[in-house]
């Protein structure tokens, strides 16, 4: 059976196509203002990779903050359930999942079947979301690809006091003026962000194994900061963590088909 999951997120829209539990196609495009266009754009890329046509797909499931725009979806899956399913697919022993997207940070406690036991989502605040790191990159005139590896080269701990992305940006500017090295500021930014997400995880209790999904999982500076904050040897991250929720939606589609 061929199923597809589409995650229409705040920044990127991702599609995953599975055939009998195996991933055969993936596609990702920037969401932009036209969400429907993004849905079909990512689907087209995934179909091309899978070498099939849309009519070959037995069932579609949608998720993400823009899921109402996924007009091909036969079913809708909330983002917490989607990430739980994906984490269980990649790491069956995983009991805690974090997912940091562009606009939201989340933590989920799951059982052995990938069912949601409890969850936490950050409140309406950029300080716990991927948008925070993007804003700090702008202040440091770094690309999102540069800031993570740069943070890994720092051995200093500079606490960031601000509890808000806007004020944190002012604090970063202050550090720049104080001639603080950019690598140390980068580490400080990731530490601040990680402490926000870890506080959500602690609300649920840290139950190993811990997995991370979402695009921020590709940022080695953030992953290292999370590992330090959680006092863990290892955090489990799939190769392309940004496709996690789309994959989770596809799994739900196959379960419901």
């Amino acid at each position: 059976m061929i199923v597809s999951g589409i995650d229409c997120g705040a920044k990127n829209t991702k599609t995953v196509i599975m055939n009998n539990g195996e991933i055969i196609g993936k596609g990702s495009v920037l969401t932009g203002f036209d969400q429907k266009k993004a849905v079909h754009g990512s689907l087209e890329i995934a179909l091309k990779m899978a070498g099939i046509s849309q009519s070959d797909i037995d069932k579609f499931a949608g998720t993400g903050s823009g899921m109402d725009s996924i007009d091909v979806a036969d079913t809708m899956v909330n983002d917490i359930k989607a990430m739980a399913k994906a984490a269980n697919y990649f790491f069956p022993k995983c009991r805690t999942v974090t997912d940091v997207g562009a606009e939201e940070g989340r933590a989920v406690k799951i059982d052995e079947n990938g069912a949601v036991v409890d969850f936490a989502i950050n409140e309406k605040c950029a300080a716990g979301a991927g948008a925070f790191i993007e804003a700090m990159c702008r202040a440091l005139e770094l690309s999102i690809e540069e800031i993570g590896p740069l943070a890994l080269t720092s051995e200093k701990t500079i606490p960031m006091n601000a509890q808000c992305a806007i004020f944190a940006e002012s604090e970063v500017v202050g550090l720049i003026h104080a001639k603080t090295e950019v690598k140390d500021i980068s580490k400080s930014i990731h530490d601040a962000m990680a402490s926000r997400i870890v506080s959500m995880v602690r609300r649920l209790g840290v139950n190993e194994d811990v997995a991370m999904l979402g695009g921020v999982g590709k940022n080695p500076g953030f992953v290292e900061a999370m590992r330090r904050e959680l006092k863990l040897e290892h955090i489990f991250i799939p190769d392309e963590p940004e496709f996690g929720p789309a994959l989770g939606a596809a799994i739900v589609a196959s379960e419901e088909a």
């Binding site: 903050s65 809708m76 909330n78 983002d79 917490i80 949601v116 989502i121 309406k124």
Partner: protein, 444 residues
């Protein structure tokens, strides 16, 4: 698919009429040669009733909630309040109320009716200042009397020393002299004694009504409860409102006897804590589509109802009526002070632990499956200790979800994100998303 029979409340139209008349009477008081006063819903409203039968009140919190329910009106009032210079993070009821004065617009039509005096109490950090500023906005010639009720928690949480009751009762006695002085009227003890008893019997009866909601299926849902508990906040000493609660009790009891449900497809019961975002009450109806009924809250049960908490059985019971009616002004003031110091909504100003115990009692004894807590940015008083409450309730074995919002400022409530969170919560409790078109309506 309905499981239980359901039908509308027969007294619904009467409730609407009583509420409409309340606000119309306040606006028209001057045409009848009467007096108008403003003050908190928590005020000892029985006392000004001693000034005559032509004395009308507007209580700030329910009035501001009505403003918030009408989102365009609320936006106008909030903007006026902010333009005047009041900070946006203050109590949103207070800002709606001040905005109504500043715009000179009554939410029920016409200009804002200026009161003759302000009579209130001070339980949270905003209450006294609310009416101090309101008096100034009215031109500075509205006299203000504030009763301090910060006398400590009620048993079993803390001992109720005699001096605590006397502290409040003495302020009421002083207040009577103050009322005579500022209005030039002679205080009528008979009217006051009658009003004091109405206050006690209406708040006792509301608790009895809430007790009926222990029944499965629940005869009342919380969205309806919001329209009914409000009489205890409009003017609990009103004889008409006390009589209405007697009538309502009989009807709800009849619903229980006949197995009439508020929500026909009741599968799961939940409760909340503090005020909801008033402009978004349709959320309750959406949750009902899933088969989840909100049976009430510590807010609706404990603000209008008077209860006693038993720490041995971890249960609440309506506080029984006193053995006899008050016979003198002094007796009435003492009785009212003692009665209201036991108000559940007062207790958690002293410790979140008291709120945890009371919410746990409701959750256990009203057969609640899940609890939704509102991180209410609009109410500094009732938001005290919500995060601690969450932890306490989880420790006692309850499933708890939180969301962030504001009871009276729609700019601080993310409807779409909150609905998403509620859906996840309901799914974790085993409910399935209904296949209906109503959701699209809600999300537009």
């Amino acid at each position: 698919m309905s499981t239980y029979p359901t039908e509308p409340l027969k007294c619904w139209n009467k409730a609407k009429e009583l509420r409409e008349n309340f606000y119309a009477d306040y606006a028209a008081a001057k045409e009848r040669g009467g007096l108008r006063w403003m003050g908190s819903a928590w005020a000892f409203d029985a006392v000004p009733r001693g000034l005559g039968k032509d004395v009308y009140t507007i209580t700030g919190e329910p009035y501001a909630a009505s403003c918030a329910f009408n989102r365009p009106v609320s936006a106008e009032f909030l903007k006026a309040s902010e333009n005047y210079g009041f900070a946006r993070d203050l109590c949103s009821y207070m800002r709606n109320y001040w905005g109504s004065i500043l715009v000179n617009k009554y939410a029920f039509g016409g200009e804002y009716p200026k009161p003759d005096f302000a009579w209130t109490q001070h339980i949270c950090c905003s209450h006294g200042k609310w009416y101090q500023n309101a008096c100034e906005l009215e031109g500075g010639d509205v006299p203000l009397y504030v009763v301090d009720v910060g006398a400590g928690a009620y048993p079993p949480f803390e001992p109720i020393y005699e001096h605590r009751v006397k502290y409040v009762a003495d302020q009421l006695l002083d207040g009577i002299e103050w009322l005579e002085k500022v209005t030039g009227r002679t205080f009528d003890d008979e009217l006051f004694l009658e009003a004091a008893w109405n206050d006690i019997r209406s708040t006792n009866k509301w608790a009895e009504i809430c007790m009926l909601n222990r029944t499965v299926p629940a005869p009342l849902d919380e969205k309806s409860i919001y329209a009914l508990y409000v009489f205890g906040t409009l003017e609990k000493s009103s004889g008409a409102f006390a009589d209405f609660y007697d009538e309502l009790y009989d009807e709800v009891k009849d619903r229980v006897d006949r197995g009439i449900a508020a929500v026909g497809n009741e599968k799961l019961r939940w409760m909340s804590d503090t005020q909801p975002p008033w402009g978004f009450l349709n959320t309750y109806r959406y949750i009902e589509l899933w088969g989840a009924v909100s049976i009430g809250s510590i807010y609706t049960y404990g603000l209008t109802g008077m209860w006693l908490y038993d720490d041995k059985t971890r249960d609440l019971r309506p506080r029984p009526l006193p053995d006899k009616k008050p016979g003198t002004r002094e007796e009435a003031c003492t009785m009212l002070a003692d009665w209201h110091l036991s108000k559940p909504e007062y207790q958690h100003f002293y410790s979140p632990r008291y709120k945890i115990d009371m919410m746990d009692a409701i959750a256990r004894n009203w057969k609640v499956d899940g609890i939704i807590l509102h991180y209410n940015r609009g109410c500094e008083g009732l938001s005290i200790g919500i995060a601690e409450t969450r932890l306490g309730l989880i420790e006692k074995g309850h499933k708890v979800m939180t969301y962030e919002g504001n009871m009276g400022d729609e700019r601080e409530f993310d409807e779409s994100a909150t609905l998403n969170r509620i859906e996840i919560f309901l799914e974790t409790m085993g409910l399935q998303k209904p296949v209906m078109g109503h959701e699209e309506t809600l999300r537009q």
